[in-house]
Each structure stands twice: as C-alpha cells, then as structure tokens.
C-alpha cells in the first residue's frame, strides 16, 4: 500500500472515530447493560408478591381481570411465563396511543395488581440510551444511524492502517514507561478481536435508523414497485388475522403452550402474546428459546381459538427471510447461547466503550506538546468533552439505578423523575468538565461515579432488604449478580480515579492532564 493511501485512512480513522466516538461510548456502555434488560427490569422494581410460572393455570383469570379493567390491552397483551429466568408470571401491555407500559399480576387473594408510571422504567431508559445516546427522539435514532455509518468507516479504516503490522503487533501489549504505546496496543487488540461483532453492530445500527429509506429505494430500484408488497407479505406473518368483531372462547395460555410443546419439544417458552383477545380471530405468539441453534429465539404463531398453526417461526423450520433477520438480531443482542454468551456480550460492550474512550485519549496524547506547559486549545477542549460525556454517562446511569430504588419512596411519577435524574447528572457532569478542566473533572467525576455505583447495591439493600447474600439465599441470582457487578464496577471506577490522580500529581508535566496548564 502506498504511504499516501495509508495516511489518508489514518486521517479517516481519526476523524470518524472522534466525531462518532463519544455517542458510541454511551451506546456501548448502555448496550452492555441492556444485554440484561429483563434482569435489570426485575432488579429495579421487583414485584412484591409475584406469581410464579407454576401458577400458569391462573393465567386466564389474570387476562380476564386485565381486559375487564383495561380494554385497550385486548389488542396485544404479553404473558411472561419464563421457565428459566426468575420464574415470574406477569401480564404486560402498552396503553394506546400513549405507549405507557403496564404490568399486572394477581395477588394471593386473587386481586389484580397493576403498576404503571409509579413503577421504575430503568431498563427501558438504559435501552433508550443504547439506541439514541440520550439525544431526544426523533433526532436520536437518525443521529445514531449516521454515527453507525461513521463507525463502520472507522472500523474499515482501522483495519486498513493496522494491516501491515496486524499479526506482528496484535498481541503485543507493551507494558512499560511508554504509556501511549500501552494504550495504543490495548486499543488495537480489543479493536481487532471484537471486529466481527462490531461489523454486525455497525450494519444493524445503520439499518435500524435508515430501514425505511432502504425499503423505499429497493422498492423503486430493484423490485419495480412490488417491493413494498413483498415486505408487507413478510411482516404480515406476525399479524396474520384482523379482528372479526365476533366474540369467541379462546384456548388458555397453558393449552397454547402445550400445543407449542408438541410441535417443538426442545423449546423453552418465555412468553405468550395474545392479540384480538376474546375475538373469533384471536391469535397468539408462543415464543421462546431453542437450545443448540445459533439464532435460537423463535416460536409459533397460533390461532388462539382453534389452536391451528398460522406460522412456524421455529429455528431451522422458518423461512429464509426470518433466518436472516433472527440471525442478525441474535448476533446483535447476544441471545444465541444463554447466560455465557450474554456475559460475553456484556464484556464486549464494555470493551467497545473502552475502544472509543482510548481512541480519544490517544488523539489527545499524540497532539501533546511535550516541551511547553501551554497545550493546544482543541486538544484541551476534546479532553473536557471526552471526560464530560463518557464519565458523565457512566455517572448518570449509576445515579439512575440508585434513583430507581429511592424515587418510589418519594413520588408516584417515578418514570418522569428517573429521566430528570439521568439528564441532570449527565449534563451537570458535562458542564463540570468544561468549567473545572479535564484533569480535575476527570478525577472528581470518577470518584463521584464510584460512589454512585457503590450506592446501587446499598440502596437496594436499604429499600428492599435484598443484599447480595439474601438474594442468593432466596434464589434471586440475577438480582445478586447485578449488585455484585455494581460493587466490582465501583471498584474499577475507584482504581481509574486513583490512576488519574497519580497522573495529575506525578505524571509528565506538559499535558492537558496536569492542572498546571493555562486552561486548567
């Protein structure tokens, strides 16, 4: 390769990385947590007296009670019957047109318990940060689509520039006095090893934002106007019947699950979603996980009145289109190999966040003026922005976890105040970084994040009495895992804060990371 071409790809890598890096940091950090969406949701607002999956025979009574009080749930109501994770049985639906999320179960006396806005929406807020980086909708989704395009370019250019020395230097982790070399090595090895996953994330990220444009373009250019028809044909799979307007008796959830078991004995069913409840055209998605398949999630779409199979979406039996879609989805969300793969995706997400953070630090470091205290304005501003946005998002998310535990004690508008807490902490951190300067802000925000993160298990223990040991003893392993992960996370933030402090006090003097610079 010509040196000139190499230089061009270096510039491309630097700038795409710098522009997209900070939004990607938030998306990856939040995405790592979103891998455990269900567990976080249950951690944030555990049901006081949950029904268990063993109480499936009560499901018809639950559905009847929900529909009587909330007729809007007739259109679509999901029954979680998770056999593996948490054993909790609950009904969930969204209000139309407000999209407000509700969950319900029957208490010991058979009375309906409904929770709405007073229930924490923590898991959904983190999920929202994953695909908008916190930028308000509808701009957020599109902004992240463009970020995904830049991310894809950064990936390709990164590989091009490291190709010449790729195999020689890949596993070289040169620990020594040259701190920049160490960071560069860590950046390279993480980037190359997680590349296949990053390619999947980038492509699905672009599609997530721009699928409508691509559908329309394909319709016109490739399919001569018949593309939308094909698309509707594919997606009508999920909505095979319209309400008939005539009432009919439905099969119970237990009967529908039994029917699905006959057809897919190996599948472990996680949820049954009813549509057109009580109508002659009622149907149900009976979905779950099939072990031993790369894209193991899928299921059956059954007529809820007759039990007839309307569509087969079982892994290995569904149509090529669904194989492609489920393949990409499970590769993006890490839903193909149970808990070990989920933890791998959690670590991949954090490693990705490190990739973007270290990329910015490397850019700043390579522009450091070693012989003068006075550093360039733009590197100093980049340092402040990187600290404010990246550490600010970590701080904001930890603070929102704590808020999810404390807010229900103070207000019924939990969902609203959770958002306020996140944005106040995030924007406050950003302002702090610009006011205090990078070195001081980095240290202070890292200590604050460590504190907020250790408060996650503390607040849970204080409010619900569920400290990790109690959680383990009562079989709530997912809850214990979140608390223990938070303890480890707090420790990690503390160590990073101390390292930052050391650099301020004893690091090489001429840098944006020392308080002696004119902008400090």
């Amino acid at each position: 390769m010509k040196p000139e071409t190499l230089r061009r790809y270096k510039t491309l890598h630097t700038w795409t990385g710098l522009i997209a890096g900070m939004a990607l940091f938030i998306a990856f950090y939040a995405g790592a947590i979103t891998v455990f969406h269900e567990a976080v949701d249950d951690w944030a607002a555990p049901a006081a007296q949950p029904m268990t999956a063993a109480m499936l025979d009560q499901a018809p009574a639950l559905i009847e009670a929900v529909v009587a009080q909330h007729p809007e749930a007739k259109g679509m109501l999901t029954l979680h019957v998770d056999e593996t994770d948490g054993q909790i049985l609950k009904a969930e639906w969204e209000d139309q047109p407000t999209d407000k999320h509700h969950a319900a179960w029957l208490d010991a006396a058979g009375k309906l318990q409904v929770v709405g806005d007073e229930r924490s929406n923590l898991a959904e807020l983190v999920n929202q940060l994953h695909f908008t980086a916190g930028i308000p909708e509808p701009v957020g989704t599109y902004a992240l689509g463009i970020v995904s395009l830049l991310y894809a370019l950064a990936l390709i250019s990164g590989i091009v520039i490291h190709l010449p020395a790729l195999f020689k230097d890949l596993f070289a982790l040169r620990i020594g006095d040259n701190l920049k070399r160490l960071w560069q090595d860590a950046h390279n090895v993480i980037g190359v090893l997680s590349l296949p996953f990053h390619v999947i994330f980038a492509v699905t990220g672009v599609l997530f934002a721009f699928h409508d444009v691509i559908f329309l373009a394909m319709n016109a250019v490739i399919y001569g106007g018949k593309g939308m028809e094909i698309l509707q044909g594919i997606f009508s799979t999920f909505m095979p019947l319209m309400p008939a307007g005539k009432p009919a008796a439905m099969l119970s959830a237990a009967e529908l699950i039994e029917r699905a078991r006959q057809l897919a004995p190996a599948m472990s069913i996680t949820d049954v979603t009813f549509h057109n409840i009580g109508d002659e055209h009622a149907f149900a998605w009976v979905f779950g996980q099939m072990p031993g398949h790369l894209a193991g999630n899928g299921g059956l779409i059954l007529n809820a009145v007759t039990g007839e199979v309307l569509h087969n979406m079982i892994p290995g039996e569904r149509s090529p289109n669904w194989t492609v879609l489920y393949g990409f989805f499970s590769a993006h969300f890490g839903t193909f190999g149970g808990l070990p793969v989920k933890w791998m995706y959690f670590i991949l997400g954090l490693a990705g966040a490190f990739l973007f953070y270290s990329g910015n630090l490397l850019w700043i470091e390579s522009r450091r003026k070693r012989r003068q205290a006075d550093q360039a304005r733009n590197t100093d501003l980049m340092a402040r922005a990187t600290i404010g946005i990246c550490i600010g998002a970590c701080f904001g998310i930890s603070a929102t976890f704590v808020a999810a535990k404390l807010l229900p004690l103070m207000t019924r508008e939990v969902v609203f105040w959770e958002q306020i807490v996140y944005y106040a902490v995030f924007l406050g951190s950003l302002a702090w970084a610009f006011l205090r300067g990078a070195p001081k802000a980095a240290m202070e925000l890292l200590y604050a994040t460590a504190l907020a993160t250790i408060l996650i298990p503390v607040s849970n223990a204080l409010v619900t009495g569920q400290h990790p040991v109690a959680s383990i003893l009562s079989g709530r392993l997912a809850m214990a895992a979140i608390d223990i992960t938070a303890i480890l996370g707090a420790l990690a933030f503390l160590l990073i804060a101390r390292a930052t402090r050391r650099r301020i006090l004893r690091g090489q003097p001429n840098s944006v990371w020392t308080t002696a610079t004119v902008y400090g």
Binding site: R8, I222, Y223, I230
Partner: protein
Amino acid sequence: MTRLDWLQRIAGGVLLGLPLALALSGIVALIGPGKIEDRYLLIVYLVPILWIVILAGNFACTENRRSWLMLVAGNILGFAALVTLRIALHLS
C-alpha cells in the same frame, strides 16, 4: 488531501455509493437461488454492507477524478446489468 478533496470523497461515496450498492444488491436479488421474495431481507442487509464498503473503498483512490469516474462507471454498469436482468425476467 485538502478539505475540498475530503468533501468530494464523502459526497461521492454517499450520493453515488448508495445507488451503486442498490444496483449490485439488485443483481443478487434477481439471480440468487430460490424465490425472489425469500431473499428480500438478505438484500435489506446487503445494501448497507455494500454501501459501507463502497464508502470506505472510495478513499483508496489517489485522485478525485478517478474516484468520480469509477463511481459513475460503476453505476452505469450496475444499472445496465440490473435493467437487462429485469427485462429478461419480465419484471418491467
């Protein structure tokens, strides 16, 4: 490269790269095995993948003129092939 050079490469990759990616995906859509509608979602993924590759590859060109020339030529060839296929398959 100057700032104007960079702008040209980005504009070329975005504006001509997407139609080229569509044309190439369209050829796969029309001549692949099985029924045309069974490949639809594969093509949905193929379009952004090819677009990204073209966007990135466009920066390998040493001269702006060559970059534009290749994109335009690629589009002409790609669409010629696609239209021929569509006529041959009685799709338009």
